[in-house]
């Protein structure tokens, strides 16, 4: 602390005071840091420190810094104001139900200083330990341990046989058989519907135009005949050779030849 003391009580002793104070302010990390330094100067246990003395020292210090026109961070000034308030509260007769009490505020400040001092001390002790890479050293050139990964391949007989099956299938020539499906082509339907329309004078249901019996009983062929005949009917209507009527939705489709 002696170095800090020197700078604090520079009082122009060596003519470099102004600069020293400036540097010193840079060196303090905030008001709490400065307060701890001042408290240490009381050379008593932090638990027995006088908050009032501390306040006076801090305020005097800040006042001096201001007189030297040094720029002070706002939080130094806030702390100064707060300490001045704390001092007045401690000195004035107690007002009723003041929360928090000035004693509590003083105690809180003291506890905070103790904690900061404890951590500063702890940090110093930590740094003074025998440190790896500074005081003690690990092996300079370790060979290193190697973990060699070895694959254990997994495969079972079923997978093997499936694979062989796949290979054999792939090797077989691929033959595509497209079976001709029995349908009624549109041309045939057109011819058939046109012919039947010509021989029937009135309305006739579309279904009555369909061929029956034999192969036509097969459902898929029957469906094809119905679809083709319907398209044929639409085509004839478009050509003006037939008329189509349907009385109800999904009702029977009626067909009639149109007088040309």
């Amino acid at each position: 602390m002696t170095a800090a003391e020197d700078t604090l009580f520079f009082a122009g002793a060596d003519g470099t005071g102004e600069a020293a104070l400036h540097i010193e302010l840079d060196g303090w990390e905030g008001p709490l840091d400065l307060l701890l330094d001042l408290a240490r100067r009381q050379k008593v246990d932090l638990r027995r420190i006088s908050i009032l003395d501390l306040t006076d020292q801090y305020c005097a210090y800040i006042a001096r810094a201001v007189a030297l026109k040094l720029e002070l961070a706002a939080d130094y000034l806030v702390m100064a104001a707060w300490l001045a308030y704390l001092k007045s509260a401690l000195l004035l007769p107690r007002t009723e139900a003041e929360e928090p009490s000035p004693e509590e505020l003083a105690l809180r400040l003291q506890l905070r200083l103790q904690r900061l001092a404890a951590m500063r001390e702890a940090g110093a002790r930590l740094m003074a330990r025998d440190r790896l890479g500074r005081d003690v050293f690990a092996r300079g050139a370790p060979e290193g341990l190697r973990v060699e990964r070895r694959s254990v391949w997994e495969c079972d007989l079923y997978a093997l046989l499936c694979a062989y099956g796949t290979v054999r299938r792939r090797g077989e020539p691929v033959v595509h058989c497209v079976r001709a499906r029995a349908v009624m082509p549109l041309d045939a339907a057109l011819a058939r519907v046109a012919k039947l329309l010509g021989v029937s004078p009135g309305w006739r249901e579309l279904r009555s135009f369909l061929p029956r019996g034999g192969d036509w009983a097969e459902p898929r062929l029957a469906r094809s005949a119905l679809a083709s005949s319907f398209v044929a009917a639409l085509e004839l209507a478009r050509q003006g050779r037939a008329e189509i009527a349907q009385d109800a939705v999904f009702g029977p489709l009626l067909l009639k030849a149109r007088a040309a």
Partner: protein, 200 residues
């Protein structure tokens, strides 16, 4: 051991990033003669897991040669054989001995060198010589390890083509799939067909 010089030499060689000459060690210790300390250390470590050795005039610690195996650890990692490798293995098993060209002809796909390497490494294939044709290609065959891994007494235990066919393994994928689907959704498929019939 209480000899401070030997302790210093010991620590220095331990922390050194490269082997050190006797003169270097001595220079670090203010010129103290270190030959005696080195000799003492060699003796100290003779029966330990670490030895102090001199190589080409430079000293360093190294692990005892008989412990090389503990510095290396094998870890087994189970891995599934790739489809390509499984197919190659199957082809060799059914057709051995075969060359790579023959495997490719049967698979209908090019086969990477790595695929066969995996099977050689797994110990399931071996190189069974060379085929006496132009180019003398290497031919492959299966190993006893292959038989025992797959639980086969001999290659004759591999199911024949007819058996594979019976097991459905040779049917085209579509047919097998269709059959499976039909079997799987019997009643619902039936319903659907009946419906279609009506609506026609």
């Amino acid at each position: 051991m209480s000899d401070d010089l030997a302790r210093a030499v010991e620590a220095m060689l331990f922390a050194a990033e490269a082997p050190m000459r006797e003169a270097e060690i001595s220079a670090h210790l203010g010129g103290a003669p270190v030959a005696e300390a080195l000799r003492a250390l060699v003796a100290d470590y003779a029966s330990r897991g670490i030895h102090l050795v001199e190589r080409g005039g430079r000293w360093h610690f190294e692990t005892s040669p008989d412990l090389a195996h503990v510095l290396r650890r094998d870890r087994e990692e189970p891995r599934h054989l790739s489809r390509a490798a499984t197919e190659c293995l199957a082809i060799v098993a059914y057709h051995e001995p075969v060359s790579r060209a023959e495997i490719e002809a049967i698979r209908g796909v090019q086969t990477g060198r790595g695929t066969l390497d995996v099977l050689l490494e797994a110990g399931w294939l071996r190189i069974a010589g060379r085929r006496e044709v132009p180019g003398r290609p290497v031919i492959y065959a299966t190993t006893p390890a292959f038989l025992s891994h797959f639980g086969l007494a001999s290659r004759r235990d591999l199911p024949g083509i007819e058996e594979l066919r019976a097991a459905g393994l040779l049917e085209p994928v579509d047919a097998v799939l269709e059959a499976a689907m039909a079997r799987g959704s019997d009643e619902s498929a039936g319903d659907r067909l009946a419906e279609t019939g009506q609506s026609a």
